[in-house]
Subunit: 452 residues, 2 copies
C-alpha cells in the first residue's frame, strides 16, 4: 500500500490547487482523479471553460447579426453546433495541456480512477481496467465536486431533457428551448442559445432571475433579456414534462396552458458528489447532501478535510481554488486561518454580464443605492444598454460591503469592487480614484459619486 | 457688461465639470465655448468618442474576418467609411444631447463664441455672427484644450497629410497609410485602419511605442502589432514628405530608401490652445506653450486658473475632469488641496489594449516584476494573446505604485490597479482578493502572486 502525507480525492480547481501547494510545501501528495475527465474538474471539462468558449462564439455571431448598427455589412450563416463544439474541444485540449504542464512540474502522485474510503485513512482506487489499488493518507482532502441535479419528474435523456453537461455536447440546434432554472447556468445557456437563434423560454420558480442575488438586479436582468426577445417566466414552476413525437410538452403549475418545445435544459442546481465515496467507512458526516465542515474545512473526522462544491455553498471554481490555497497553508504550516468568503465575486457570463461581490441585502446598518441606467458615453458608442449598478455600504463607516453590476464587461469591472470589499475601502476611497475615459468602469465610480 | 463670479473659457470635460460644480456650489458661472464645436471639447467632438465609435466598428469587423477561428461562417464586405462615419455622427449626436441635458439642468450662462482676454477680469466673446460681448469674471478658468501639432515640413492638407481630427472625418480608405507618432493616438489609428484593411506603417522617433510608458511594454505592444502584420518602425525619424500624383513619398532620416503611401497621419502630439487668448492682456504667463500653473492650478495671476490640456501634462479627458472637480472645490470652499495625478490611468484603446497607472520606472526603492505572457484560460477560449502584466512596488512596503497591462479588456482591468495605487494597497492586499474565474482580470492577480 502506498502511503502519502496527504491524499486528495478529486482533481478539480480546489483539489489540484491544494495538492500542488501541499507538495510545494514539502508534503508527499496523492491526487486521485476519475478517469473519464482530465484534471481541471467540471470547470474545465463541463463547466466554465466550454461555456465560455461557446459564449465567445455566440458573442461574435450576435455582434455580426447586428453589424448594421455599426455601419458594417456582414452575411451571417446559421451556426453549425458541430463546428462550434469542435472548436471548443480544441480549446479544452489546449487547456488540458496547460494543466498537464503544471502537473508535470509538481511531484504529485496521480491516480486515474474512482476513490472510495475503506477506513478513515485508506482509499481504494478503482482503475478503469478493473484493477484496484489501496492508498493511505495521513490526512485526506475530499474535493469531489458536484453534478447536475435531476428533477424527479424529468430524468435526463440526453436528447430532449438535458443536463448542462449534456447541453454542452449537444450539436442539434433546437427551434425552441425551455430552460428550467434562472441561476447563472440557466442565464448563460439562455444567452448562448438565444444568440444562436433558438427561441428560448427561461423559467425560474422564485420571483427573480439569479435568485441568490439582489432582486432589483434580477428584475433588471429579466427586463434586458425580454428586450432581446427572450421569454422569461419567473415565479413559475413546472408540473410535468412529457416527451412526445420528438418534442417535449411542458405543463406549468397553476397555469392552464401547455407549451411544446424541442429541448429542455434542466439547470436547477448542482449537488455535491458524495455518493460512492463510502464516507461511512471513514466516519465523515454529511448534511443535506454536502460534506459537513467547520470554518477550517475540517470534517467530523479531524484529519479529513473537504472543500469546493463537495461542501456546498457558492460552488464556484475560484472559491474552490481559494479554499484549496487556504487549506494547504493551514495544513502545511499548522496555522488555523478561518475561511472567509464574503468577498468572492459571483458572475454570470450572460448578455448582459452580471457580476456581484459581498452582501446582496440591505440589512440593519447596511444601506443600498441603485443607479438603474448609469449614463456613460462608452455604452453609447458601443451601442449597448447602460450599466445597472447597485452598491451596499456600511452606514456608519461608508465602507463598500457589496456591489452588483449588470453591464458590458461587468465580469471584469467587479474586481475593483472585490478589492474594495476585501480591503474595506470607503465610498470616498473609491470615489477619489480617477477612472479612465471612456470605459465601462466609469459607471462604477459614477454610482459611487451619486450614492445618497 | 455681464458679470459672473467665475468665467470659464472652454467647454470640454475640464471646463464643463468645473463650471457646473461651481454653479452647484452657489457661484454664478459663465461658460464660453467656441461655436464650431458642441460642449464636450475635443474628447467628444474630435477625440475619445469618435475614435471609440470607430474602434468598436473596427473590432466587430476584425472579429468577423476571424470568424473561422470561432467556428463561424461570415461573409465580410469591405468597410464603407462613409457609412461608419454616419454611425459615428449619430453616436456623437446622442452624446451631445446627453450633455445638453446635463447643461440644461445647471444654471450656467453659456456663450458660443471665441473668448479673448481684454484685461485680467474681462473676456471679449466674438460671436459667429461677428458681434462681440464683454463678460467680467471675479475669477477666471482657462480650459481651452489643445490642438494637433503640425510638422514644419508637412503642413496638414486634409487629404494626403492629415491631423487626427481630419483623419476622423476621412471617408477614403487608403491602401497604405503611414502614421507618424507611436503614442496612444498613433496606436489607436494604427489599429483602426489596419482592422479596416489598410496596410499600416507606424513610425516612432523614440526607441519604443508609447514612449512615455515602460519600454518593455512598448516593445511587447510592438511585437503584438507586428504579429498582426502591422509594420512598426521605432527609432525612426522622417526627413521629409512629398505629395506627388495623389500619393505621398516618405523619406526617412538616415535610411536610404523612400516609401510611397496614400495618406499620412501626423500624430506626434498635441499643443495647448493658447494662441488668440491674448494672455498678455491679463498678465498670464506661459511656459513651453502651456499656461503655467502651480499645484493649485493657479496661474501667475492669482484669480486666474487653468486646467486640462491647456496646462500640458497628461492631456487626458479624465485628468481634466479630475482637475475641474478639485479646482471647483478649492475655489468654492476656499480649500487648498494640491493636485496629485500619480494615480490617473493612461490608456490606449488599440488592439491589444494598453493601460497603465502610477509609476512607469523602477527608480530607487521601486522594484518591478514582469509576466510577459500570463497563462489564462480566458485568453485561450477567447483566442487572444495572453496578457502582459508589469507591476511596480515600493520595496520597503510592497505597496503597488504602478502597473501596466497589455491585454484584452486592459482598459477595464486597470481600475483595480488604479484603486490599489490611489489607496496604497500592498501586494498582499490585492493578492488575497479572490478574482472570478475565468476572467482576464485573473492575469493581474496571477502577476501579484508570482511577484518576486
Amino acid at each position: 500500500m502506498k502511503t502519502f502525507d496527504v491524499v486528495v480525492i478529486g482533481g478539480g480547481p480546489g483539489g489540484m490547487t491544494a495538492g500542488m501547494m501541499l507538495n510545494q510545501m514539502g508534503k508527499t501528495v496523492a491526487l486521485i482523479q476519475e478517469s473519464q475527465d482530465s484534471f481541471g474538474g467540471v470547470c474545465l471539462n463541463r463547466g466554465c471553460m466550454p461555456t465560455k468558449s461557446l459564449l465567445k462564439a455566440a458573442k461574435i455571431h450576435r455582434d455580426a447579426k447586428q453589424a448594421y448598427k455599426y455601419g458594417l455589412d456582414l452575411q451571417v450563416a446559421p451556426v453549425d453546433l458541430k463546428r462550434l463544439r469542435a472548436v471548443t474541444d480544441e480549446d479544452l485540449n489546449t487547456l488540458r495541456m496547460m494543466i498537464q504542464g503544471m502537473m508535470g512540474s509538481a511531484q504529485v502522485a496521480t491516480f486515474r480512477g474512482k476513490g472510495c474510503f475503506q477506513s478513515a485513512h485508506e482509499i481504494l482506487v478503482s482503475n478503469p481496467d478493473g484493477s484496484t489499488e489501496l492508498v493511505r493518507g495521513g490526512q485526506i482532502i475530499i474535493a469531489t465536486g458536484s453534478e447536475s441535479v435531476e428533477l424527479p419528474f424529468a430524468p435526463f435523456d440526453g436528447q430532449h431533457i438535458l443536463s448542462s453537461d449534456q447541453m454542452l455536447s449537444n450539436t442539434d440546434l433546437p427551434k425552441k428551448l425551455l430552460i428550467i432554472g434562472g441561476g447563472a447556468i440557466g442565464c448563460e445557456f439562455a444567452t448562448l442559445y438565444h444568440s444562436f437563434g433558438s427561441a428560448v423560454v427561461l423559467v425560474e420558480a422564485l420571483e427573480t432571475l439569479l435568485p441568490r442575488e439582489d432582486q432589483e438586479a434580477g428584475k433588471a436582468l429579466q427586463a434586458a433579456f425580454e428586450n432581446q426577445g427572450l421569454e422569461v417566466k419567473t415565479g413559475t414552476m413546472i408540473e410535468h414534462l412529457t416527451v412526445e413525437n420528438g418534442q417535449v410538452k411542458v405543463k406549468y403549475k397553476d397555469i392552464d396552458a401547455t407549451v411544446t418545445v424541442d429541448k429542455v435544459l434542466v439547470g436547477v442546481g448542482r449537488k455535491p458528489n458524495v455518493a460512492g465515496l463510502n464516507l461511512e467507512a471513514a466516519g465523515v458526516k454529511t448534511e443535506r447532501g454536502a460534506v459537513s465542515v467547520n470554518q477550517f474545512m475540517q470534517t467530523s473526522v479531524p484529519h479529513i478535510y473537504a472543500l469546493g462544491d463537495a461542501i456546498g455553498g457558492l460552488m464556484l471554481a475560484h472559491a474552490a481554488e481559494k479554499e484549496g490555497q487556504l487549506l494547504a497553508m493551514n495544513m502545511a504550516q499548522g496555522t488555523n486561518i478561518p475561511l472567509e468568503e464574503s468577498a468572492v465575486p459571483r458572475v454570470a457570463f450572460s448578455y448582459p454580464e452580471v457580476a456581484a461581490v459581498g452582501v446582496s441585502n440591505a440589512t440593519a446598518g447596511i444601506r443600498s443605492f441603485t443607479m438603474p441606467e448609469v449614463p456613460n458615453g462608452r455604452s453609447v458608442v458601443d451601442k449597448v444598454t447602460p450599466a445597472f449598478v447597485k452598491l451596499f455600504i456600511e452606514e456608519e463607516t461608508t465602507v463598500i460591503v457589496g456591489a452588483i453590476i449588470i453591464s458590458e464587461a461587468a465580469t471584469e469591472m467587479i474586481h475593483e469592487m472585490a478589492l474594495a470589499v476585501e480591503n474595506r475601502l470607503t465610498l470616498g476611497q473609491v470615489g477619489k480614484t480617477v477612472h479612465a475615459h471612456p470605459t465601462h468602469s466609469t459607471s462604477v465610480v459614477k454610482a459611487v459619486h451619486h450614492f445618497n
